[in-house]
Structures are given as C-alpha cells and as structure tokens.
C-alpha cells in the first residue's frame, strides 16, 4: 500500500462529480475478503412460476370454499332492532372483546393507536435491529425491570378484570422466565433456542398470543349480551 500522504481526503458536495469510495487499510496486513456472491437464477421462469403456482393453489382453495360455503347474509338493515349479539367481523372481534372491559376511548382509540404506533417504530430502535438474546447481558438488572413491569401490568389487568388478557400475559411471562433461567452454554434444543430470543421477539409473541386469544374468545365464547358462553354447549 502506498503512503496515505499520497492521497488527499476531501469532503465534497459537488453534484457533478461521481463520488468514489476509497478504503484505507491502515494495518500492515493483507485484506480479508468475504465472498458474498450468491447463486442466482433467472426471474423468469423461476420466481415467476413459483409465484404463479402459489397464487393458483390459493385461488383453487378459495374457489372450492366459495362453491361449498355461502357468505352470510342476514335480514334487511333495521335501525329499530339491534340483533343480539351484534358482532363485528372476526378481525375486529379482539377489539370488541377489549371494549367489554375498557371504555371506547381506551379500547377503541388508545390501544389500537398505540399498537399501530408501536408497529411502525419497531425498525427504528437499535435494540430490535441488533436482536441479541434478552437475557444474555445485564441479567440481574433486566430481571428486575422485567419483574416490575410484569407485576404492574398484571395488577392493572386484574383490577379491570381483564382475565382474558391476563392469562396469556402470565403464560408468555412464564416462558420468558424459563429463558432467563436457562444457561446459554449448557442448554440444548428448545431452551437454547428460547434463551437467544431478543426483547422484540417476546413483545411481538405476546401481541400475537393476545390477538389470537382475544379474537378466539370474541368469536366462540361470547353470546347474547356479550355474555360468556361455552360453544360446545350452545
């Protein structure tokens, strides 16, 4: 390598000049090159036909479903008679279940708003980008924070009688504790996989489980007057 003084490093914002990137290798060592070239195939037909087949399979499934099952259609809209129960479409039933416990401002505006905000900012937080195992560093401090947050959240849910959200929270927290107690060096299998999971994984999994449970309850376990029903008895 030639002497760095042979070059002049300049910061230039002249748009007419094409910028060049120059690597300065300062140590007297030979450069190590990571070979990053990958196998490539022609988009047509490889990618094209894979996508076409996938969509065709989906289309066949949907067509068969449409031939066998009719979409529901109830009676003409009658502003003077509210059916009981009046249920939202299935993807909103989780929200409707929450409305049972919290006022509309919270369950209808605040929580969905916070969820959307939280989703949007995920990639902008370094902790999500680095995605290292939650319990692999600062274990004691993180356990303390974890304990406080979980207890406060569970008390909050219990005070408002939101058992449907409390149970999944406890289950996910139990798995997090299991991961915390696992020694990354000696563990194997599922526990080893679990201990390497980052905070973003835990929060998202908690969200997924809550979504699933709340929607399932709203769909199957709620009857007239939003009362609790057992679907196998109804």
């Amino acid at each position: 390598m030639s002497d760095p003084k042979d070059f002049v490093a300049v910061l230039d914002s002249d748009a007419r000049k094409t910028p060049r990137r120059i690597a300065f290798i300062t140590k007297r060592t030979s450069p190590q090159v990571r070979v990053k070239d990958e196998d490539r195939v022609m988009t047509y037909p490889e990618a094209f036909f894979r996508a076409a087949v996938a969509i065709e399979v989906l289309a066949i499934a949907l067509v068969v479903t449409s031939l066998l099952w009719n979409a529901p259609l109830e009676g003409l809209a009658n502003p003077m008679h509210t059916p009981n129960p009046a249920k939202a479409p299935w993807y909103f039933l989780g929200l409707q279940e929450l409305l049972h416990y919290f006022p509309p401002v919270v369950a209808g505006v605040l929580i969905p708003g916070l969820v959307v905000m939280a989703l949007i900012v995920i990639p902008y937080f370094n902790i999500n980008v680095e995605a290292e195992g939650l319990w692999l560093r600062d274990k004691v401090k993180r356990m303390r924070i974890f304990g406080i947050v979980v207890v406060i959240f569970c008390v909050f849910l219990a005070v408002f009688d939101v058992w449907v959200a409390l149970v999944p929270t406890i289950i996910v927290a139990a798995f997090m504790l299991l991961a915390a107690r696992t020694d990354p060096q000696t563990a194997s299998g599922f526990k080893r996989w679990l201990v390497g999971k980052p905070l973003s994984f835990w929060i998202m999994t908690w969200f997924l489980v809550e979504l699933f449970v709340l929607t399932a309850i709203g769909t199957f376990f709620r009857g007239p007057g939003w009362s609790w029903v057992l679907p196998w008895r109804a």
């Binding site: 030979s30 450069p31 090159v33 990571r34 070979v35 990053k36 990958e38 196998d39 490539r40 195939v41 022609m42 988009t43 047509y44 037909p45 490889e46 990618a47 094209f48 894979r50 996508a51 996938a54 969509i55 989906l58 949907l62 449409s66 099952w69 009719n70 979409a71 259609l73 109830e74 009676g75 003409l76 809209a77 502003p79 008679h81 509210t82 059916p83 009046a86 249920k87 939202a88 479409p89 299935w90 993807y91 909103f92 409707q96 006022p103 509309p104 401002v105 209808g108 505006v109 959307v116 989703l119 949007i120 995920i122 990639p123 999500n128 980008v129 973003s200 994984f201 998202m204 997924l208």
Partner: protein, 251 residues
C-alpha cells in the same frame, strides 16, 4: 406433433406484428427470459435475476405474493359485482338477494369476494408476523416495513367499508358500533364520525360514502402503496433471505 406446435408458436412469434408488441422474440434462451422481465411494463419491477435463497418456500412462505393474489381476486370479483349493485337504500339489499338467486354465477362471485376478503386480512397479518420473525424489517428495509403497516391499515379499512355494502343487519350494526368508536376520539371524535358517515346516522349518505371509499379511494391508495412496497423491495436489495453463508478468503 410436438414440433408442429413449436413451429406454429414460432410462426406466431417471429413475425413483424408480434415483435412490434412483444420485443422478446422466440426461443428458449436466457436472453429471451431476461427480456421477458426487463421489457415488460409490469414485470420490469423485478430484477432479471433472483437470488436462489429468496425463492425457497421456507424463506417467506410466499405470504406476500399470496396477499397480492387475494388482492387481485378481490379487484376482479369486486368489479364484476359492481355491475349488479346499486349503492342506495334499500336497493342494495335487494341487489344482494338478486346476486344470490337471480344472477348467473352471482352467488359464486359474492362468496369468492367475501372469502377472499377474509383470506386477505388473515394473510396480511401472517405476512407481517413472518417478516417480523425473520428480521426482514431491519435496515435498510425499515421504511418498507412502515409502508407495510400502512397497507395493513388500508386492508382493514377496505374490509370494513366493504362490510357495510350488503346493508343487512350484520353490516348496519357493525358500522354503527364502529362509527361510535370513531366518535370516542378525543376533541375531534364527533367531527370524524360526521365526516365518515356524511351525516349523524348510518343512512343512505353513509352507504354511498363507504361505497366510494371501498371501490375508488381505498383501492387507489392500495395500488399506490403496493407499488411503493414492491419498488422498495427492489431498491433495498431484494427479498431478505437472512445472512448468506460466507466464505472467508484471505490472501
């Protein structure tokens, strides 16, 4: 017989008229395959070559493509259904009955539209979770993730506005509850509800607004953001396929 079919195809594709429209010509060469993608206004969003690892089923489960597939089914069935649907009260409900009992294949198209809508909502959530769990939101793909969240909201809104259109009990009360939730927004809530419904109650104005939202405004927004979403995939280096197995060479 096989060769005559090929000869026939070649004859169709080798003349002036065909080549003036489709410039990729005939034959089985890689050049033709490349041109097929690169010279096509819809397909040139793709790169001519794709990394093999991104095409594996285990990479993405093809969820993004499947979501787009349901969207296409919905657009086509939706446009066909529009031919028999009048967005007025109570004609809308009568049209639903018409579609079910009078129109040839009406019940099939309506069913297909409805089930594809449910499938699309499910697939868009599944796609979001899959992208998250494999870390495909990380830089440089952060903004595409945000576009994805926007598309999730557009999908939910499309489903919600479409829900009102049959004007049955299910539709009417679902929208009543939904608009009352909207009015729970502090400060602006009642104004939002008023604008959403085009009035104070769920009536003919609300139906028309939801119809225009469902058939014009939201599909337009969806196409726009889908285009940006696909463009960003290309610009961010293609579909994320995890870290490649690297070979470290030193001199």
């Amino acid at each position: 017989m096989a060769s005559t079919l090929d000869q026939l195809l070649d004859q169709v594709r080798d003349n002036r008229v065909w080549r003036s429209i489709f410039r990729s010509g005939s034959g089985e060469s890689n050049l033709r395959r490349a041109l097929f993608v690169q010279q096509n206004v819809f397909l040139h969003l793709f790169s001519v070559k794709a990394r093999k690892r991104t095409l594996e089923f285990s990479a993405t489960w093809y969820l993004g493509a499947l979501t787009f597939g349901t969207f296409l089914i919905l657009v086509i069935t939706g446009i066909l259904l529009m031919l028999y649907y009048h967005p007025s009260v109570p004609q809308a409900y009568a049209d639903m009955k018409d579609l079910q009992f009078v129109v040839s294949s009406g019940v099939f198209l309506r069913n297909l539209h409805r089930w594809s809508a449910h499938a699309m909502v499910f697939l868009v959530f599944a796609h979001m979770f899959k992208v998250f769990y494999r870390g495909a939101y990380r830089p440089p793909r952060e903004f595409n993730w945000v576009i994805g969240v926007v598309l999730l909201l557009v999908t939910l809104l499309l489903s919600y506005t479409g829900y009102l259109l049959p004007w049955d009990q299910l539709a009417y009360w679902a929208v009543t509850v939904g608009s009352n939730i909207a009015s729970a927004v502090p400060v602006m809530g009642s104004k939002i509800r008023f604008l959403m419904l085009g009035g104070t109650a769920v009536n003919a104005n609300a139906l028309l607004r939801f119809y225009v939202l469902h058939c014009v405004i939201l599909p337009f927004a969806a196409v726009l953001f889908i285009a940006i979403h696909f463009w960003r995939i290309r610009k961010d280096g293609g579909i994320y396929a995890g870290e490649p197995a690297t070979e470290v060479k030193s001199k």
